[in-house]
């Protein structure tokens, strides 16, 4: 309950600081700026607002209206109706992290289930209660490595095939740290470089190597030997994952990685510009005290009943104060719950089945596209549900044509990789029918012949 202070209390406070009225607090703001005339239209009734907002909303073209082949980190999957029905329960719908946690047993249990599912999917030992999105989770892995080596190791090595926005966020996050170097992706001449080539950059000054699985181009690599060479130099390995793919792929924990982070949107969270999305962060037991955010544990109460507690918040400010090594004191509660509900509804076999459908459809699409004159499949490695095609025209132009046919085309890789002009990243999910895929290829052929 929010209790605002009373008139009497306000007067007492003003008296203490020697002011007569609340207005006196704003004397430093020039008078002409205190209450400027705002150029806004007259107010509308609720009915008029609804009509106005619906007009605005109708101007959007969404994945409900279009056939979507756009992925690049956010994917158009089917979300069972039960997901929304469950997460909209009033007891869950307050998304914020509990500040008096143990009183909210249901919230803690939901987080505990989420952590358990993430550990099972990734093959890691501990998962935190989640972060805002895949990009912040990746950056938090870097902060963890920095503090793990107490600033003594200063090199962070990125595969150029890690999501460009994650790499940008990482650089923003780390910009306040003195003397560190972020490398491996600075020269994008060959963005398709194989992960093992990163090994040559790893030395005893390297804190962390960061790769993606499947990578930004959809490719699947076995990172076992990379993990070995990273460890031989005493450094840490982080793998950025699409957790959805782990329904059928080998869990990254089996490569021997130290940290797994990722974007959890593909697990039942709708596509939205700006989120809310879900940051996944999992690691080995030995780094448990180094993880950012919070961790929920299961215990028993004084009567022996099962209960949940906020077990660890080791890097947060409320215990460590000025010694805290992370600003993250929250988690993405509602989205973590969403993914837990989604995973529970699909189950182990269901998730595997949907992942396999995506895989098969993507391979069908890639095969069909590669047969069209002028298009070339840039896949020298196995891929999951996303692949790169080299096009005869600019991706922008092709996408305009596709949009005329109600198709949201793939991602224009030239935006992030100068050497990948005319390269389109195409994502295929269970939402794309065979007819959709055939239509895509018909239009692609049409564009090439223009």
């Amino acid at each position: 309950m929010f209790i605002p202070h009373t008139k009497i209390e306000q007067e007492e406070m003003l008296k203490v600081i020697g002011l007569k009225s609340l207005e006196d607090l704003f004397l430093d703001v020039p008078e002409s700026h205190r209450f400027p005339t705002l150029n806004i239209p007259p107010s509308l009734s609720e009915m008029e607002v609804m009509a106005h907002m619906q007009t605005l909303s109708a101007a959007n073209e969404t994945t409900r209206d279009l056939v979507c082949f756009l992925g690049a980190g956010a994917y158009n999957h089917y979300i069972p109706a039960a997901v929304d029905a469950i997460i909209r329960r009033g007891e869950f719908y307050t998304a914020y992290t509990p500040y008096q946690p143990e009183i909210s047993q249901g919230t803690l249990q939901a987080i505990f289930e989420y952590q358990t599912l993430i550990c099972a999917l990734t093959g890691m030992q501990v998962s935190n209660a989640s972060h805002y999105d895949g990009a912040t989770a990746t950056a938090e892995a870097g902060v963890m490595a920095y503090h793990h080596y107490r600033g003594k190791r200063t090199k962070f090595i990125f595969s150029p095939a890690v999501h460009p926005q994650y790499r940008a966020t990482f650089r923003t996050y780390m910009s306040g740290y003195q003397g560190i170097t972020i490398m491996g992706d600075e020269n994008l001449e060959d963005p398709f470089v194989k992960p093992d080539n990163l090994s040559s950059l790893v030395d005893f000054d390297t804190a962390m190597v960061i790769v993606q699985y499947p990578d930004f181009f959809g490719r699947i690599f076995d990172y076992t030997s990379l993990a070995q060479s990273v460890h031989s130099k005493g450094a840490l390995l982080t793998i950025v994952v699409n957790p959805f793919s782990l329904g059928m792929l080998k869990p990254p924990g089996e490569f021997g990685t130290d940290v797994v982070v990722g974007e959890g949107q593909s697990l039942g969270i709708p596509l939205s510009f700006g989120g809310p999305y879900l940051g996944i962060f999992a690691t080995k037991n030995e780094y448990m005290r180094k993880i950012s955010g919070r961790l929920v544990g299961e215990t028993v109460d004084t009567e022996g009943h099962r209960g949940y507690v906020l077990t660890l918040t080791t890097r947060e400010q409320h215990i460590r104060r000025e010694k805290a090594t992370s600003n993250i004191c929250t988690n993405q509660g509602l989205m973590a719950l969403t993914s837990a509900v989604y995973l529970s509804l699909l189950g182990k076999h269901g998730l595997r089945k949907v992942a396999e459908i995506c895989y098969q459809k993507a391979h069908y699409a890639a095969h069909q596209t590669s047969k069209i004159h002028g298009y070339r499949l840039c896949a020298d490695s196995p891929f999951f549900h996303e692949f790169v095609i080299c096009c005869p025209n600019s991706v922008e132009e092709i996408n305009m044509h596709l949009l005329d046919h109600g198709i949201l085309g793939g991602y224009d890789l030239g935006k992030d990789y100068p050497t990948l002009k005319n390269h389109m990243l195409v994502a295929v999910t269970e939402m794309n029918t065979r007819d959709d895929i055939d239509l895509l290829n018909e239009v692609l052929a049409e564009v090439a012949n223009d």
Partner: protein, 130 residues
């Protein structure tokens, strides 16, 4: 509160026990009482490292707070108590014996002169309790 006679104490609540040039260091009974239940101890210096008086050698974290442990003397770390990572509660139950943190081969034993004896430290603690 216990303030053993054979130890010397720093203003930041570390104790020092000397045996020739070897100094054993831990945190005092007063410090553990202020911190309450200790849940994590991390010694951040390794055997062989040189430390200067005042350097942070460890962090002790309780359910209430995290505190740095400052080294009261300069020298080389010759031993680190590995038991504390598994049993941090030793800081509460046995601060002066089992919960020693590090052993230092002192490079400047004169620094010991700046430390308090048991009765001065007891006085110092009782002043802060009010």
């Amino acid at each position: 509160m216990n303030y053993p006679n054979d130890l010397q104490y720093a203003e930041t609540d570390e104790w020092v026990k000397t045996d020739g040039k070897i100094a054993t260091i831990g945190v005092s009974d007063y410090a553990q009482d202020q911190l309450s239940d200790v849940v994590f101890v991390e010694v951040i210096k390794a055997v062989g490292e040189m430390v200067m008086k005042g350097d942070v050698i460890a962090t002790v974290e309780s359910v209430k707070a995290a505190a740095d442990v400052n080294c009261p003397v300069s020298g080389k770390v010759i031993a680190v108590n590995e038991d504390l990572s598994q049993s941090p509660e030793l800081i509460n139950s046995d601060p002066y014996e089992k919960a020693w943190l590090v052993r230092i081969d002192m490079s400047n034993p004169d620094e010991l002169g700046k430390l308090m004896d048991s009765s001065s430290y007891e006085q110092y603690c009782s002043e802060r309790s009010h």
